[in-house]
């Protein structure tokens, strides 16, 4: 069964598209089952013809619209709206589209602070006024896709695992809804948990975790138990793919930072992790930079502006 496909990338980094290609041979056979009408990273369909008009962005009608990246500027908003009008099903592809992602950290600051820094005070830059010609103006902040258009499915992950992507696309090809996990990252993590309360405080990750290098992760003490801040408990599972492997950051012996977003839609990662920590008797006062706990889910109004950035 074949489906027409349009794909766009808004305020993201192409990592989701690269993850799709990371499915290896399956990527090509999967892409083959779609009739790809618009996908700027791989093929040449354009918004405008060469006659000069740039009012209406041309995106063809399609059965499936994949959109990665959040909505940051007016052009991205127009593209998202056009995709919604033209595509029967819209998938928010990746954490940026689903929850804002890393670029939504900019919601902490005023845009003018960014422009002042980038165009006037950055080291080595010849100071100049903000560019204003041709380029699309910013919206008031970075938005997740569903804050601006109706989204049929989200596929979180930064990036989502290739197997999860292919499985989701296959479901859609069969007319079914993609199934995401309902559990947290801890569910797929084999690290040893020995009951709660052994860590009293969180330490910064300036020293490696404790583990035996020649032993598997199942012999390693849970990183949160070791006093490292691991967002596993408050993050949606899926980073390990579909074959029961361990979470990928844990494989590198590095604590999770929550890149799949909250366990449930509408979940608040900072609230959930602070709640989890304090409920286990962990002193959160020396947690450095709490706002980083929302680094993947700063849209939906979660990260708000402060007038001046504090080192907190």
């Amino acid at each position: 069964m074949s489906l027409t496909l349009c794909s766009e990338a808004l305020s993201g980094c192409s990592g989701c598209e690269m993850s799709l290609l990371n499915a290896g041979g399956s990527s090509l056979s999967l892409l083959d089952r779609f009739d790809i009408l618009h996908m700027p990273i791989l093929m040449d369909h354009k918004y405008f013809d060469s006659s000069g008009g740039t009012q209406e962005i041309d995106i063809p009608k399609a059965g499936l619209g994949l959109i990665s990246g959040g909505v940051r500027n007016e052009q991205q908003l127009r593209i998202a709206e056009k995709m919604r009008r033209q595509c029967d099903t819209i998938v928010a592809f990746g954490t940026c589209a689903a929850y804002g992602g890393i670029p939504a950290m900019m919601n902490l600051f005023e845009d003018e602070d960014l422009f002042r820094r980038y165009y006037r005070t950055a080291e080595g830059t010849d100071a100049a006024p903000n560019p204003l010609q041709v380029i699309p103006p910013f919206l008031e902040r970075t938005f997740a896709l569903d804050e601006k258009i109706a989204v049929d499915f989200i596929l979180p992950g930064c990036p989502p695992h290739p197997d999860v992507i292919t499985s989701a696309l296959e479901s859609i090809l069969e007319g079914k809804s993609p199934q995401l996990s309902l559990l947290s990252v801890c569910d797929s993590c084999p690290a040893k948990r020995e009951g709660k309360g052994s860590a009293q405080r969180i330490r910064r990750f300036v020293k490696n975790a404790r583990y035996q290098p020649d032993k598997p992760i199942s012999e390693m003490r849970c990183l949160l138990d070791q006093g490292l801040l691991c967002m596993g408990p408050v993050t949606l599972a899926g980073c390990a793919g579909m074959n029961g492997g361990p979470p990928r950051c844990i494989e590198a012996r590095v604590p999770c930072r929550g890149c799949h977003g909250p366990v449930r839609k509408g979940g608040n990662q900072i609230l959930d992790i602070l709640n989890g920590l304090v409920s286990n008797g962990i002193d959160t006062k020396n947690l450095p930079d709490r706002l980083s706990l929302l680094r993947f889910s700063g849209a939906h109004g979660r990260i708000k502006r402060r007038s001046a950035p504090k080192a907190d």
Binding site: N268, S279, T284, R290, I303
Partner: protein, 154 residues
């Protein structure tokens, strides 16, 4: 004392634990102790049951103030539920600060089953404090209420 925000009636949500604070509220009712009618009560078995996200959601939906009311320390029906609720308050306060919600809007307080007057007093205090700071900016009709001109001139 004139109203600082004329017309503004604070909407307060109180999560009250079944064994102590809800009983106090009940007693206040039967004893005809007056407390502001703007209070809405949700009964829970223990203050620890109130997940921080419920408090946050209450604010996101436009509550002007939220009270979580449990038993006095040492008197929790479930031993240490109220202590855990206290620990959780840390998480709530952090997130409220990020949301730009004034700290006066959320309180974790203790109240025993006999303290009908105490219950009413806690609610009245909260109500008065909210009348001074005005409606929550998350409240859908917040723009209807503005500081009275008299107060602005002071």
């Amino acid at each position: 004392m004139p109203d600082i925000y004329p017309g503004f009636e604070p909407r307060i949500l109180a999560f009250t634990c079944n064994w102590c604070s809800y009983a106090a509220a009940d007693l206040a009712g039967t004893a005809r102790v007056q407390y502001p009618a703007s209070l809405r009560i949700i009964r829970v078995m223990c203050s620890v049951m109130v997940h921080p996200s419920l408090v946050i959601e209450a604010f996101e939906r436009g509550a002007d103030g939220v009270l979580v009311m449990g038993c006095h320390p040492g008197e929790c029906y479930y031993q240490d539920g109220n202590q855990k609720a206290k620990a959780r308050s840390v998480a709530i306060e952090e997130v409220l600060a990020i949301m730009g919600i004034e700290p006066e809007r959320y309180r974790l307080v203790w109240c025993s089953s006999a303290e009908a007057e105490g219950f009413a007093c806690l609610v009245r205090e909260t109500d008065e404090a909210l009348r001074v700071i005005g409606p929550s900016k998350y409240r859908k009709d917040a723009s209807k209420y503005s500081k009275s001109e008299l107060i602005q001139c002071l």
